[in-house]
């Protein structure tokens, strides 16, 4: 079997909320292999976002280790983590994903521009991806001139245009109605099936869960259920 994309071992995270410690994660072991489409679910406050952010290098665990694509996060500087996010990870956030002063095309080019991809190449790739996602008509529109669903699809386009090893999406459907949610999920499913893109989502939304190939349920900062732990 190929190398796992994500390996978390004994990850804990405790926040201080008005001097009261909140145990957001209490020793999570979690492995994701290439090509998986994982849904993290669980009640509010169970630690889904915290785990996703730690895997995404946006937050640091108090103890335990995180290895993504064979890079151990332990000891990486803030700037090295930023570099890693830029080159290996794709993010789709809940809302406010896009840069308002840039057009859809420029937003999709943004990451590749930071990566230093030559102008002609990144523009070609950005146009390709946008067209594939059915946004060919609106590449010159700014976020303010698009619907929420269209904006989220542009965000997905931006996340995947640079070919990340892992796509992380925290509540990607929270601001969408069920029809656009379905469109978005179809899109993620296609990316997962056709391109073998590894995806982890954190969600409450049963529709999102139903599209995933592996269910992981959290409760009180620990994994309560994991499809991967079931006998095959």
């Amino acid at each position: 079997m190929s190398q796992p994309v994500v390996v978390c071992k004994g990850v804990t995270k405790t926040y201080q909320k008005e001097a009261v410690p909140v145990h957001a994660l209490r020793g999570v072991d979690f492995v994701v292999h290439p090509g998986e489409f994982v849904s993290l679910s669980g009640p509010s406050g169970s630690g889904k976002s915290t785990l996703l952010n730690i895997i995404g290098g946006l937050d640091r665990p108090d103890s335990g280790s995180v290895v993504v694509d064979e890079v151990d996060y332990g000891g990486l500087s803030e700037s090295a983590l930023a570099e890693l996010r830029l080159h290996k990870l794709g993010f789709v956030f809940q809302a406010y994903n896009l840069i308002p002063v840039l057009s859809a095309l420029e937003n999709v080019e943004f990451i590749m521009q930071l990566q230093g991809v030559p102008a002609a190449e990144r523009q070609g790739r950005a146009e390709d991806v946008l067209t594939k996602l059915g946004l060919g008509e609106m590449i010159h529109r700014r976020p303010g001139e698009m619907s929420g669903g269209q904006q989220q699809r542009v965000a997905v386009a931006r996340a995947i245009a640079s070919d990340p090893v892992l796509l992380l999406a925290d509540e990607p459907s929270a601001n969408l109605d069920s029809r656009t949610t379905e469109e978005l999920l179809e899109l993620l499913k296609r990316l997962n099936q056709d391109n073998g893109m590894t995806i982890i989502t954190a969600t409450h939304d049963p529709m999102v869960m139903s599209y995933a190939t592996r269910q992981v349920k959290l409760r009180d900062g620990a994994i309560e259920h994991d499809d991967a732990a079931l006998p095959a």
């Binding site: 946006l58 803030e78 700037s79 930023a82 840069i99 308002p100 943004f110 990451i111």
Partner: protein
């Protein structure tokens, strides 16, 4: 970098009104500083010209002791072959003179004056160049007539063509008394000089005093910038004489000159300081309302320092536009007043500083560049604090807010 420029310009355009006002403020401040600089430079140049033309020159040679006791006793002889030890391309001209105290008498009045023996041809370097002459000026070094100031002529209640008596001390310490015909009178800005100097041919005066010495050699350069080196090289070749520049001979004028420099800096700091304050506030507001956006960029992998540079670039674009507009506006103001501002209404106060009553502005490219350059530095400085503040917010916190 292209991305950052694009982002900053679009973000500036996002708030056209707010940034338009700020741009206007920068432009007006820069234009104001530039315009006032042209006036102060004009004043300085006038001050310099007056000080240098006032028989001082850029550099002057005396016998040691002449300054304490300005008589023919403290004089020196110059060789026929003498020329000042200054490269010829920076030497505008030089003049030997005998300058001693004397008493002048008309039929009605008596006045104490400075009697100055000159070579008329060499005096293109002094204020006489621009003076308005009534009657005739001296024609040669052995001219035995006098030329005096219009004001003095009025006070003596005499006239051109009439005769006067001058008493002064000869090289032997004995008084000389002699009658002179008035060849003409000179009229210059203000009356101070007109009351002070009475001119006569140098060779004639030397003959009267029974000497072949002079009391001073005045040297005028083509540029003030060469004053120091000229003084040093002349002092080296005339080691037994006293070589001084106008700043030492006219310390008051020198102080006013430096004072004008100081005013330029203080004025710049005041105007631009107030402006920087506004710029910092405006940038802080612009950046803080984008915390989320900038946090998202960092979450996607943009480095902290790139975010800082982004804010700095935005500030610099703003400043550059403001400086450009302000420099153009300043040039327009300069063009409008380039004929000079008539100060005759205030000339009583102004004359104290020995300045002409017409203030002609002078625009120096170096001043424009200094203002532009310092403004850009301020633009960078002003953006550092807002930039620093915005990167203190962690990307996750920014996204959550």
């Amino acid at each position: 970098m292209k991305l950052l420029l694009q982002l900053s310009i679009r973000n500036l355009l996002r708030h056209k009104r707010r940034n338009g006002m700020l741009l206007l403020a920068i432009a007006v401040a820069v234009a104001g500083v530039n315009a006032s600089n042209t006036l102060l430079r004009g004043y300085q140049l006038d001050l310099l010209d007056t000080a240098v033309s006032n028989l001082t020159g850029h550099v002057k040679v005396h016998a040691p002791g002449y300054r304490d006791d300005p008589t023919i006793m403290n004089s020196f002889v110059i060789e026929d072959s003498f020329t000042p030890d200054v490269p010829s391309d920076v030497l505008l001209g030089w003049a030997p003179r005998v300058r001693i105290p004397g008493v002048i008498m008309s039929e009605r009045e008596t006045r104490g004056v400075q009697l100055v023996g000159i070579e008329p041809g060499a005096e293109g370097i002094s204020f006489l160049r621009d003076a308005v002459i009534d009657g005739e000026f001296l024609t040669a070094a052995d001219d035995n007539r006098v030329v005096l100031g219009k004001e003095l002529l009025r006070q003596l209640e005499s006239d051109i063509g009439r005769r006067l008596v001058i008493i002064t001390q000869g090289a032997d310490g004995l008084n000389r008394e002699r009658g002179y015909r008035i060849a003409g009178s000179y009229d210059v800005q203000g009356t101070g000089l007109e009351k002070l100097f009475v001119f006569v041919g140098l060779e004639h005066l030397q003959a009267l005093l029974e000497t072949d010495a002079v009391t001073e050699v005045s040297v005028r350069l083509t540029t003030e910038n060469y004053r120091e080196p000229a003084k040093l090289s002349m002092a080296a070749s005339l080691s037994d004489l006293e070589v001084m520049d106008w700043q030492e001979l006219e310390p008051q004028a020198a102080e006013m000159f430096l004072f004008a420099d100081g005013v330029i800096y203080v004025w710049f700091l005041l105007m631009m300081g107030a402006l920087t304050f506004g710029l910092v506030n405006s940038l802080a507001a612009a950046v803080m309302e984008r915390v989320k956006e900038l946090g998202m960029m960092r979450a996607l992998g943009m480095q902290k320092r790139t975010v800082v540079v982004q804010v700095v670039v935005e500030s610099c674009v703003m400043m550059a536009l403001g400086v450009l507009a302000g420099t153009l506006l300043g040039a327009l103001i300069y063009a409008a007043i380039s004929d000079g501002i008539d100060l005759t209404a205030w000339s009583d106060g102004i004359e104290l500083f020995g300045v002409a009553s017409l203030l002609v502005p002078v625009m120096l490219p170096s001043d424009l560049l200094t203002v532009a350059f310092s403004s850009m530095l301020l633009g960078i400085a002003a953006s550092l604090y807002p930039a620093w503040r915005v990167v203190q917010v962690q990307p996750l916190d920014a996204l959550r807010s």
